[in-house]
Symmetry: none
Subunit: 118 residues, 4 copies
DNA sequence: GTGGTCTAGACCACT
DNA sequence: GTGGTCTAGACCACC
């Protein structure tokens, strides 16, 4: 994984995990890698890995059981919620960048449809 | 500017310049900073800066005049062409990421309209 | 300050600060010591001090302004809210220990009144 | 057991034993663990363990019989006396901390009743 | 100067 | 083995 220098690593890794949960690659109730494993996988410090899970836990996406590990919560609709949240973030950033190019809403819609049908 | 480790810096800087041209911040015919100036502005190596202009020249966006510097070309429609190219790149990457989340074309369109009207 | 080994230091320091806020020793809007100062005052590591403020911020008690410092929020009723929360915590722990001694609610009330009038 | 750094360990262990006597977990006339056993149970130094019994003996709570061990005294009302003493200590410390928060006697009584009925 | 992030490595409690 | 806490020290961005 390549990290953007301007965003904290723990957020980037967290977003990566959220993407996997949102897309169903990681299922509700599933056990996430241990802090040390996560640290190895992403080549980060164990403390940073722990912080990743702290954030996800705070967002109600996963829960951690001492001595056992960290698990994706099984709450109904959680996956859908995460997916929508990420989709809106992506969309907002997309619109912002398109408008910075000087494109109107109509133009954006037009290009989007053309590219969709490729 | 924050560089993404996974993409060559000269491409990232080139894209930044293209964005400024596409949005009109830099006008056709305008003189671009010298290689050394560019290197300072973006805190990059002068060799990398030179490569940035090589790429833009190859794409027909700017031209270097011996002893004078590098200028944005004045060809009619160039600005429009750059803008559209960047817009399509952004859109493709946007669609790719939205689909990776498991969203259909309809859902993407729906969210886009909602966020546009905010 | 003497730390109880069984409770995280960052919670104990946080509680100490909350007590000072609840009792009015620290006023709303007031600037709290910088992380490094707090670390010196309580003889703890700067990272632990930072964590203290992270917790208080999460609880909506203080807010941190980058490059400026950490401040107690000025929201109306915040002080009262913190005071009541701490009071209830103290009371619950008191009742628990009194009952562990085998005392009934009546006995507790009786002793309390006697001690109050000393 | 978790020790508070600010209070001598022999007092903390002594209080723990007194609590067990007051609540009836340890009965009058019962044999207390030997000094060495106590040291192991609480993970303290045998000298400290001996000092614990010195204090309890001085307070008239237990008595040591040469070659036999240490026993809780069987005096009538002793248990009741210890219980009341501990209860008063707890209450005094409780009142002190509640008042430090700026609470009046009435407010303390009100919160106490509310928490009792939970 | 401030807070924010990251690394490194230690120790503990829980299972 | 797991996560939770703490220390130590580094570098960065903001003011």
């Amino acid at each position: 994984m390549n990290f953007d220098t301007s965003i904290p690593i723990y957020l980037q890794v967290g977003n990566d995990l959220k993407g996997k949960i949102a897309s169903g690659q990681i299922q509700p109730g599933e056990k996430l890698p241990s802090g040390r494993e996560l640290a190895q996988q992403y080549q980060i410090n164990p403390n940073t890995a722990a912080r990743v899970y702290q954030v996800l836990e705070q967002e109600g996406i996963c829960e951690t059981r001492r001595g056992l590990g960290t698990y994706v919560v099984e709450e109904i609709g959680m996956q859908q919620k995460v997916r929508e949240e990420m989709a809106r973030d992506l969309t907002r950033s997309f619109l912002e960048r398109m408008r910075a190019l000087g494109l109107s809403g109509e133009e954006i819609g037009k290009i989007l449809k053309e590219e969709e049908n490729r």
